[in-house]
Subunit: 198 residues, 2 copies
DNA sequence: GTCTATACTCCGATAGAC
DNA sequence: GTCTATCGGAGTATAGAC
């Protein structure tokens, strides 16, 4: 995306998306606002509206970027997990937990209800790619039908999201509850959920 | 809870809590506001403040009621599941999915971050009871240590919350995605996560 | 115990200067 | 392309009448 010249220090459009991630990671979707993002970048509250027509279009761009980055994180985690298909799928649960903790932009942001009004081809493509990646990783395991694959992938996503969401919410407030520990538990659970393992 | 006389039609305090559940179920925590609850009961926006000093105290009362009701739903589901300890624990995942769908007041409401400021003995007791119930159901299964029990219970809660949260978010937007179907998948996943089953 | 009215704050969004 | 200024709307909370 051709970086547009001139703002405080460069490309405000990209900076807005990046700052949105930071805000989401620190405060969650509840407290997300265009004004807060602008404040964080020390630009006026009107400046964002030169780059996005309204709040939902900014969120849509954040969603697209999140889907893209999450897809990359998932592929990297799968590759790092080796060749065993079950192991590769399970690794995505850990990648999801880490991604949400780092960016605050998990599935509730990527598939936020308010975005259904917004037509955004980039977003559509990136979310599609993300789902394709998951289904391919699922299909590579010992599932016997498409329906079975979908259910396995959904279960994997559900555990990952459950751990990530509860962690973000502060539910695991014990001493040893680091991101790594929670991500590890998510991977372990995802592994267990796959019936096709040895 | 001595039902205070006189308001539109009775006990406004209780009505506020009840209407809060409805609002949460329909719109989620994001859109929860004292004003919206008042509107729903057709009382003025000032009326709630005669019963709760501020928004967080109302939410705290909702949290306490939710913890109490969820505990009851979980115990009922466990009993309906029979005698097998693993089956009883797994059934709680289904009960959680149904409860969240019906009331909108799941763990993010019960353990909402803003409530840490609020001292509320009823809430404290009900959340404690809820956790005790889960840990006892976990301990009855073939776990070998307290730490193992905690991890099993956490995993059960994580899948349940993952399915419930994604369902509420509209993620499972397929034709066959009824509450019953999702609750069933949560139970199945919870069952699989318990290593102590035959 | 509830109402009306009001003060304050924050956000979304627009108009117009530069 | 960003700023200042501003409007309108919604929410939290309080004051004072009844």
């Amino acid at each position: 995306m051709g970086a547009n010249r001139a703002y405080h220090h460069g490309d405000l459009r990209a900076a807005l998306i990046s700052a949105s991630f930071d805000l989401l990671a620190e405060q969650g979707l509840q407290r997300f606002s265009v004004a807060a993002v602008a404040r964080r970048l020390e630009v006026s509250s009107a400046a964002p509206y030169r780059h996005f027509p309204d709040r939902d279009h900014l969120l849509s761009a954040v969603s697209a970027a999140a889907a893209h980055d999450l897809n990359a994180a998932i592929l990297a985690a799968a590759d790092a997990a080796g060749d065993d298909p079950a192991e590769r799928l399970a690794a995505t649960a850990g990648a999801y937990v880490r991604f949400v903790t780092r960016t605050g932009a998990g599935l509730p942001v990527i598939y936020a209800a308010e975005l259904y009004r917004v037509t955004d081809d980039a977003r559509r493509e990136h979310t599609r790619t993300l789902m394709t990646t998951m289904l391919e990783l699922g299909a590579a395991t010992a599932t016997r039908s498409y329906e079975e694959t979908v259910l396995l992938v959904e279960a994997t996503i559900a555990v990952a999201h459950g751990y990530a969401s509860l962690y973000a919410e502060g539910f695991f407030a014990r001493n040893d509850s680091t991101v790594d520990a929670i991500a590890g538990r998510a991977v372990e659970a995802a592994r267990t959920l796959n019936p096709g393992r040895t």
